[in-house]
Symmetry: C2
Subunit: 223 residues, 2 copies
DNA sequence: CTGTATCCTCAAGGATACTG
DNA sequence: CAGTATCCTTGAGGATACAG
């Protein structure tokens, strides 16, 4: 647990639990649907497993998280679920007031992991669809990513899974992140050539519709 | 500044600024109307002035706080003002899910400082009204507090200011804090005798109406 | 896959005194 | 009133390897 503030104020009592590094990001991951240790971990890749384990235990002790019936999952309790307005308020504030991202904030692994769980499967063609992402501004090792879409399923690979590629999306990671955060519109990125999509005409036009931007992306920005 | 999370997620970017110890409590103080260094300090008495100074500088650098025109005040910027929903969401969550307070969370200084700024001056009689608080469960040094009310003004003293006392409120600090947080109703505390008010009948009945409980006090609690 | 165990460093921040 | 200066401790958390 974090150190006490020795205050009866509910903000202080809440922050005693929540102001430790990583804690709210773990809660965010659980709210996004991650349940297993390594699922959560994919959302906080810079966190050591030791620390993640410790934080999860703290959250369980604090009554924010509980172990699933099979003892293997981490699930938010009602108290944890009620942190959603906190996380949403933080996301809204963050998207409005922190627009500049450092190069180190751009992680293709995190982008794909996040896109993976926000696929509009109804918009994707039946059968298997493979989207190859290429980020020219990223070191070769992490430049290419395959997103394998099947009805109700989506997988991310950082190595060629061997399937035929349906469409290829190419553009700097920074621009793709801007699109994903709602700082740049697909159509503007495509028009300017900052991002290009190759593949059959019908698929090309459909690609942007396959990805549901996170809720905060639509938030109005300060003038 | 806090360490980076190396994520583009706006929650992560927000928490880089806000997850450091004390930071959101300072923001809460500024939202409550404190503007001067020592006003803020009264709201975070366990914080060293050095650290408070450092945090305020960080908040200024982050664009959340700015110095007032006279260069002597700390004022929230629009970005800082927009943290209000975050603080409110935290307060609501805290009041609902963290009901147990340790003995060290009960600070009469903080309670009076908070009450002082939430006086309903329209409900208080004209002229000077002096409320003496006595907390039998608190060490003698901090047991007695005088709240001196005048039209549009309120002062807290931990020593007898020498004015005639209008009403005396006596009750354990823990119960007074429960009242203030909305965990216990004035009328229930008075009926049970956990808190007693002495003074002229007309004033006695009026006392609870002089204090406007903080907004979160009215929040429904989980069943 | 789901974590533990270990080691190590650094800096956050608590305490206290002091200054313009 | 509005902060600085200084000292000091400890534990947070990063890194890496390993285990059931």
């Amino acid at each position: 647990m974090g150190a006490s503030y020795y205050q009866f104020c509910p903000v202080a009592k809440a922050m005693e639990l929540l102001d430790e590094r990583w804690t709210l990001l773990i809660v965010r991951e659980l709210m996004s649907g991650s349940e297993r240790f390594n699922e959560v971990r994919r959302g906080v890749p810079r966190m050591s497993p030791t620390l993640l384990s410790k934080r999860l235990s703290q959250l369980v002790r604090a009554g924010i998280v509980t172990r699933g019936a099979d003892g293997d999952r981490y699930v938010l309790t009602p108290a944890g679920e009620e942190l959603r307005p906190v996380v949403e308020a933080l996301a809204l504030w963050g998207i409005r007031w922190i627009g500049e991202l450092g190069d180190h904030d751009l992680d293709p692994k995190l982008l794909l992991w996040d896109m993976r769980r926000r696929i509009d499967h109804d918009a994707v063609p039946d059968g298997r669809t493979v989207v190859l992402f290429g980020f020219p501004d990223v070191p070769v090792r992490e430049r290419h990513w395959w997103l394998v879409l099947a009805p109700g399923d989506a997988d991310v690979c950082d190595m060629d899974p061997g399937f035929e590629v349906s469409v290829t999306v190419t553009g700097d990671l920074r621009q793709m992140v801007r699109i994903w955060r709602g700082d740049l519109r697909w159509e503007d990125a495509l028009r300017s050539g900052e991002v290009t999509v190759r593949g059959p005409e019908s698929l090309r036009r459909a690609v942007p519709g396959w990805f549901v931007l996170p809720p905060f992306a639509a938030a109005p920005r300060p003038a």
